[in-house]
Amino acid sequence: MEILLAIVIGGLFGFSLQKAGAANPQVIIDMLRLKNFHLMKAILLGLGLSSFMLFVLMNVGIIESGHLSVKTAYVGVVIGGAIMGTGWAISGFCPGTGVVGVGAGRKDALVFVIGGLVGALAFTLAYSSLAETFLFDEIGAGKATLATTGIEKYASLMDTVPAVVVVGVIAFVFIFAAWKLPAKSEGLSS
């Protein structure tokens, strides 16, 4: 059953990224050089909607909070983000969109994925010497969220405000930004 879900949801996600233009490095590069916000508008809308619905549906018990998976905040998250951002700008791909680009038949995406396998192997080999360094020092409460999840191991940074209010404000800001950001689409699609 889980494998069937992997095929359906993975397929839907890949299809959506392709149709959003996210697997086209031109679109990513134009977003990063602040020329075209088409993709950023789509992502802000997607995040606003899914985040709000997630907390509402958890609140009424339709989504089990046990499905959440909050990652730890540590120094390496910021530094790793910066390294990933550098490669992102150079190549115009991130891991997910590179994989989708391979499906779409892009040769540069295939080369990106091969480079990615080498980078992932380099980290796998380097991990034992990095594990005890400051890179893995936790930031703040570690596995923390802004909105209260109701799960004890995840500290909430705004535990005095109801989660739906926190997420409601975030979703409003994201969707408002998605709506207001300028989109330029000429020359991109037919």
Binding site: K19, L39, A42, G46, S50, G80, G81, F123, T145
Partner: protein, 191 residues
């Protein structure tokens, strides 16, 4: 309005809705979306062919001679030994989704994306070798950075921010702080 499945690129609101539904379905039915771990898993699967110590089945859990594959109770080693698992198949299905998304187009917009992005050619020339070298180096940096951070654009930026996690916001900040100035500099020519 033409059948939406055949449009080459969706309107941003359709894209946003489809992505939002993907994020929500994943967390509602299984777990939040993530991609970059699977690069490590595929590396491990190849490594496993040449070494008998990469994914070792114990009585209750898996272990590995590599510290990274061995961490968190050997959960990566377990995935390496069992390729038919949710997260790995999910990423393979993304390839299929990308394939279908690129194939489903009407005749009127049946024009392939240029092999090299136009903005690339304007700034860095039309050599495919040069483009591939940068794509390879970019891929290596992206996956090394993502694994150091414990997630990528999917796991941190999408799934993380959806859950309002601090780590998701920190990763996004680090990524854009570097990606935007580099892109502004590298691709300064062209509209």
């Amino acid at each position: 309005m033409k059948n939406i499945l055949y449009q080459k690129q969706w309107h941003w609101s359709v894209s946003g809705l489809a992505l939002g539904v993907s994020f929500l379905l994943a967390v509602a039915l299984v777990k939040p979306i993530g991609v970059s771990t699977q690069f490590v898993i595929l590396d491990g699967m190849v490594w496993d062919v040449f070494s008998s110590e990469i994914a070792v089945k114990g009585e209750t859990a898996y272990s590995s001679s590599n510290a990274y594959l061995n961490k968190s109770g050997g959960k990566y080693a377990k995935s390496v030994a069992n390729p038919i698992n949710y997260s790995f198949i999910f990423v393979l299905a993304m390839i299929l989704g990308g394939f279908l998304g690129a194939k489903l187009r009407t005749k009127s917009n049946d024009e392939n994306e240029p092999e090299l992005p136009a903005v690339w050619c304007e700034n860095l020339g039309s050599s495919t070798t040069k483009r591939y070298m940068f794509a390879f180096a970019g891929g290596a940096l992206v996956l090394f950075g993502s694994r150091l951070a414990g997630g990528c654009t999917s796991g941190h930026m999408m799934s993380g921010i959806m859950q309002t996690s601090l780590s998701g916001y920190l990763f996004t900040m680090g990524a854009f702080l570097f990606a935007v100035p580099i892109a502004l500099f590298m691709y300064r020519k062209g509209r």
